[in-house]
């Protein structure tokens, strides 16, 4: 599903070069639920941004669902992002002046689905996260947990192959976090590959495997988790 080979990311300013990732290697297979952990500044976010085609990498190779993304122009990267990826952010990142329906509609608009197809997908996605009855509400009218569920619905509506989650429970209390985590596990169980950055070791142990990053490199890969897919440990 996602393979990065000898990948590096260097941020350059006039004075300083910062190596966010170096010789980075990872292979995420279809159906896996992988957590990415590591201390602050280790390169987790850079990795997730590059995986999500939100940032370019400096060197190496990155193949997403069979497509080598190196050298793709903005249009191609945007299309790939829209068709194959779903995003869940720590801050939910819902658009405040759009209703839940319209928020979930955003990626579907860029996909070019017709109105009836979009409506069906939005309703299905909101039903899946238990918010079908509130589709005309606005984000500000929801709790944090509910907002994150909407963000998950938005990520799912386009039937992505890979869900990228950046500390999705970071802004939630423990009860809401548990609910969101259970929802992600259900989604993974239904076949969607998930790559989740987290600081929470309790969440990390619940997934198929945990990738630990230190100084821009994968330091070790840990254990089989409770997920349906059993994956070999690779470096």
């Amino acid at each position: 599903m996602l393979r990065m080979t000898n990948l590096s990311k260097v941020y350059r300013t006039h004075m300083i070069e910062t190596h966010a990732l170096r010789g980075f290697e990872i292979d995420v297979r279809e159906g896996e639920f992988v957590t990415v952990t590591g201390p602050s500044g280790s390169g987790k976010t850079s990795f997730l941004n590059i995986a999500g085609l939100l940032e370019e990498f400096t060197a190496g190779d990155y193949v997403l669902d069979g497509v080598n993304v190196k050298g793709l122009d903005d249009n191609a990267r945007s299309r790939l992002r829209n068709e194959k990826l779903g995003f869940i952010f720590q801050g939910f990142n819902l658009i405040p002046d759009l209703s839940l329906f319209d928020n979930v509609d955003v990626p579907l608009r860029y996909r070019g689905f017709n109105a009836s197809e979009r409506k069906k997908r939005i309703e299905d996605a909101l039903a899946k996260v238990g918010l079908a009855s509130r589709m005309k509400h606005y984000p500000a009218e929801l709790s944090g947990g509910q907002q994150q569920r909407v963000a998950i619905a938005r990520a799912l509506a386009g039937s992505p192959k890979l869900l990228l989650a950046d500390e999705p429970t970071g802004n939630l209390d423990s009860q809401m976090a548990r609910g969101v985590m259970e929802l992600l596990e259900e989604i993974n169980a239904a076949g969607t590959t998930i790559l989740m950055v987290t600081h929470d070791p309790e969440l990390a142990v619940r997934t198929t495997r945990n990738v630990h990053i230190i100084d821009g490199q994968v330091s070790d890969l840990v254990r089989k988790g409770p997920s349906l897919v059993q994956t070999p440990v690779t470096a």
Binding site: L54, E55, N75, F89, G91, R109, Y110
Partner: protein
Amino acid sequence: MFGYYFTLGLRSLRRNRALTALMVLTLAVGVAASISTLTILHAMSGDPIPEKSRRLLVPHLDNGQVDGWAPGEKPDDVQMTYQDAVNLLKSGQGERRTVLFGTEMPLEPPRKDMPAFSSAGMAPTRDFFAMFNVRFLHGQPWTEADDARGADVVVLGRAMAEKLFGDANPVGRQIRLMNVPFTVAGVVDYWNPRPRYYKLIGGDTFGGADDFYIPFASAIRHEAGINGGMNCTTKREPGFAGLLASECTWLQFWFETRSSADRADLQSWLDRYAGEQRKLGRLKRNVPTHLYDVMEWMEELKIVGNDNKLSVWLAFGFLALCLVNTIGLLLAKFSVRASEIGVRRALGASRREIFSQFLIETGVIGLAGGLLGLALSFGALALIGMQSTEVAAMARMDWEMLGMTFVLSVAAALLAGLLPTWRACQVTPAIQLKSQ
């Protein structure tokens, strides 16, 4: 996606309402200033008879003296002498032809309860009405025979006809002009092109409609008073007969050709005519003759003054200033939406999509500015029109200018939106998503 982006644009108007209102107002004020001055210019300089303006031609023969004249100098006058006018009328050149001059004379109404009053009219030939597409409410123009014998017939303007006869059809009735009874041949419907391109010399270029029209030959026979300009470069004999025999220029002449291609033939004929007159010793200056079509004639006579053009330039300068302000406001409006841009980029919007969305949103602001600008333009034109009735007649917005208001407003908004929109496209989604 246009509809989606347009809807987002409409919703966006509600976001940052104070900022949006300021932008719309800034744009509207600039557009109103430009449109109101442009409306005046448009009314003054527009083609008043587009269907045949290239076929209506004013001939010019320079009959000025050579003393004190240097070749290349502009002619003293662009009107015509009586002798030349009569010769050109008889020439048979063009499909139609008319000479004309403005006149003012006492008019005695048929009603006993209405005293005599001074009335302004014109003295053309019968062809005048067909040449300038003058529509008749009652009756018709006088006949060629009336022209030939200088018959005492009159065509009334509608306002004058209603003043004298009410709603009744006055054809066949009589009024007295210059103490002479004239029979009403017809009534011209409301017809008052502005500028009065058919008679641009002698004042009242933007004035009201003519009260009446009498045959040129009749006006000459009755020695009607001349209401217009006259230029005499040589001594003339006294009296009206002296005027007719003189080289004084006081008449305006028009040809209508069958097609614009016939202009060259008419020009050749005019050159030959001028050559003959030179041989006869009448025309002293060896200069080419000229033909002007309607738009060339208006340009030659500088109907649109430099002040008018300058005011339009100033108004557009003001609009540019408003646009600079709008750019600043748009930058502020879009900068607070960086996180939304980041989200949309993450969800699959390309830079091109973001550019389209924000440019269309800017266009919606332009439309709103156009609506308000239109209202302000009407107000500005009403204020301008308070100067005089002539200006008021110019300060009227037609459909063309109404459409222009929106085109200008949207185009101005899009222009102002280019930089802010381009900057919106450059938002780095990763940074925005993390920082929210």
